[in-house]
């Protein structure tokens, strides 16, 4: 992502199915902690991320590749940006098969091909960059700036556990 974006978080996982749930928790925690987002929008982003991660992991399986899949969260004043990068064989978005409409009984012969439509529906922008070296999917959520006035330090201080002080200050008899 170009421009003055700040890295929030980075996760490198093996291309294994059980890590998709981990990626969901990581991204949803980051989104909630950094932005004032409605629960629904966090859930939308988390589902889109899950689809992108699933595709990344499946891509590695096809290529028998043990390389890592990387999930990054960046932000700037207007956007939260989630990037999923794999080292799979890549694919051409233009060459994907088109499926019959869901109302067509023949649609039921296709159990796949739902992931990318779901992603497109849930985030404000999605970019696919792909070649034989791998694929990068960038999910963008437009949302208000980071939680107002609370940098990481200030937030931490609020949550810092100074037990002695808390008891002594707050309990008076």
């Amino acid at each position: 992502m170009e421009g003055a974006a700040d890295r929030v978080l980075c996760l490198e996982i093996p291309p294994r199915a059980e890590f998709v749930a981990v990626a969901r928790l990581v991204v949803s925690t980051a989104a909630k902690s950094r932005r004032a987002l409605a629960d629904d929008r966090v859930a939308d982003l988390t589902l889109a991320l899950s689809e992108a991660c699933t595709n990344a992991i499946e891509a590695h399986g096809a290529k028998e590749e043990a390389d890592r899949v990387t999930v990054r969260v960046d932000e700037d004043d207007e956007r939260l940006v989630v990037t999923v990068e794999d080292r799979g064989p890549g694919f051409d978005l233009m060459e994907l098969p088109t499926h019959p409409a869901v109302t067509d009984p023949n649609r039921l012969n296709f159990e796949r091909g739902l992931g990318i439509p779901i992603i497109r529906n849930l985030v404000d922008e999605v970019t696919f960059t792909s070649d034989e070296g791998g694929t990068t999917v960038t999910l963008v959520l437009r949302c208000p700036p980071s939680i107002a006035g609370m940098g990481p330090d200030e937030l931490l201080e609020l949550e810092d556990v100074d037990l002695e002080a808390a008891w002594d200050d707050e309990v008076t008899q």
Partner: protein
């Protein structure tokens, strides 16, 4: 992240499969196996209760489509119970709410 699956076959011809937890690429195979097992045991009307599901993505949808297709091929059907807006949304944005019959309660699914 374990998927809970409970089967209730006390109300034939229906079999109710109550699913709890997150249905994704790691857990969907377990649901698929259960549906395969039920179909091969002769179950015809399978009701999948999704009200205990916290997360469902396209892998889960694929398993449900596969189950419905197979059961319809055997003169049965697979219907759903779902009231959660988050989960219903996944069916809506894929248009699959028009392919599946989705009930609000298990009783409605058994009656319908």
């Amino acid at each position: 992240m374990d998927l809970g699956i409970e089967v209730d076959d006390s109300r034939p011809p229906h079999v109710v499969v109550a699913v709890r937890g997150e249905v994704d690429i790691a857990t969907a195979p377990k649901l698929r196996e259960k549906l395969v097992e039920l179909a091969s045991q002769g179950a015809k009307q399978v009701v999948v209760d999704l009200d205990g599901v916290e997360f469902l993505d396209s892998t889960g949808l694929g398993v449900l489509i596969g189950g419905m297709k197979r059961l319809r091929g055997l003169d049965g059907d697979l219907t759903l119970v779902c009231t959660q807006p988050r989960i219903l949304k996944v069916f809506e944005i894929t248009g699959l709410n028009r392919a599946f019959t989705i009930y609000e309660t298990v009783d409605a699914a058994l009656a319908g």
